[in-house]
Symmetry: C2
Subunit: 192 residues, 2 copies
DNA sequence: GGGTCAACCAAGCAAGCGCTAGTGTAAATT
DNA sequence: AATTTACACTAGCGCTTGCTTGGTTGACCC
């Protein structure tokens, strides 16, 4: 019923929606549940979002955009060595999981619930993020830091990292830094 | 309304359900869709399964049990070297993805839709499978084939492998064997 | 040849779903 | 002072959902 603006109100609602989507899954989160969490009535929700789908899109867009920003910043601030850049990307990835965990869990689990247009739009964002990774991995390959098929190595690393949302406990003894170090050590075969 | 038997009929229905769950997701697959795919009416479905939840449980149970059987067989048939055993586990994992892909995709994506009792029951099966992996990784660590924290290495490897369901194309140029070789090469740092 | 039983069907219920229509109201804008 | 905007409300429509009910069919068994 309204515009797709970027009001702070909408950002906050998106954040709350992400939490519910994680807890119950997108399909089982009703607009009434969302409204209650937001402290409004279900009808009022459609003032901020065209429909339920748009809430899902907003959640994933927010998370992916933040990941992209953080990763770019990390690459700019670190050393130029292939190893340092690899490490910076891994650490950035894991740090994003700390700050935007809900959004990323939703992105991983509910991607298929997006309608085709939204998926198309968001996949460009995701591709941009993955392109960063592939660049860094190419550099590591060129530097002789790692070996193998660039496509496969990239997929394996992304898999290992994305899988962390299923077991990583921010309150546990391991920091994102620890994990990043260990992962890079594993694939470069250098002692931690 | 009926028993939880292991009739071949039920196995076939379970297989068909898995396909629909992959295509549409568990929540969006209605009992009417399931019945139509099975060539029966929606009411008849409840002769074979107590409720919709039980179909999901059956799908995941079937897939996990097969994975466990295949992995055990692979370990028994391969050489005793740590590297061979690592390779055998990776290949077995990827071969299961070929034969039982639907069930495994469902297990990955719809796990959270299980009710607590089913989740408890199935997590024991999954733990048994992961225990196999941890054994093999411990052996590889003891043999000096790989290095690092056993917990983290196991999680990273499981992540890299499980992530393959999101991108691996069985019709593509790479066989499960190729992937297994490349993964083991990556973490042991030996040329392919 | 009566009894059993798995397998199926037609019909429908109660609940819940996403979303809409129409209205109220306080603050901002003109 | 008049108008617009932003945000919220109430009430409920039209539809789908998982599941139940009560009954039929045909193959097999002693």
């Amino acid at each position: 019923m309204n515009v797709m603006n970027d009001s702070p109100r909408r950002k906050e609602l998106t954040r709350q929606a992400a939490q519910l989507f994680v807890q119950a899954g997108f399909d089982r989160t009703t607009v009434r549940m969302l409204a209650q969490e937001m402290g409004i009535k279900s009808g009022s929700l459609f003032h901020h979002f065209r429909d339920k789908q748009e809430i899902l899109t907003a959640v994933i867009e927010e998370g992916t955009q933040n990941a992209l920003i953080i990763a770019k910043a990390a690459l700019e601030q670190c050393d130029n060595s292939a190893e340092a850049r690899l490490q910076a990307m891994a650490r950035a990835h894991l740090e994003t999981l700390l700050t935007d965990r809900n959004a990323h869990v939703v992105a991983l689990y509910e991607w298929r619930r997006l309608d085709p247009e939204a998926r198309d739009h968001l996949s460009h964002l995701r591709d941009a993020y993955e392109a960063l990774w592939e660049t860094v991995i190419d550099e590591a390959l060129a530097a002789g830091l790692i070996h193998g098929d660039r496509f496969l190595v990239a997929r394996f690393v992304m898999g290992a990292l994305n899988w962390t949302v299923r077991w990583y406990d921010p309150a546990g003894p391991r920091s994102p830094d620890d994990l990043a170090l260990e992962l890079v050590a594993m694939i470069t075969h250098r002692p931690v």
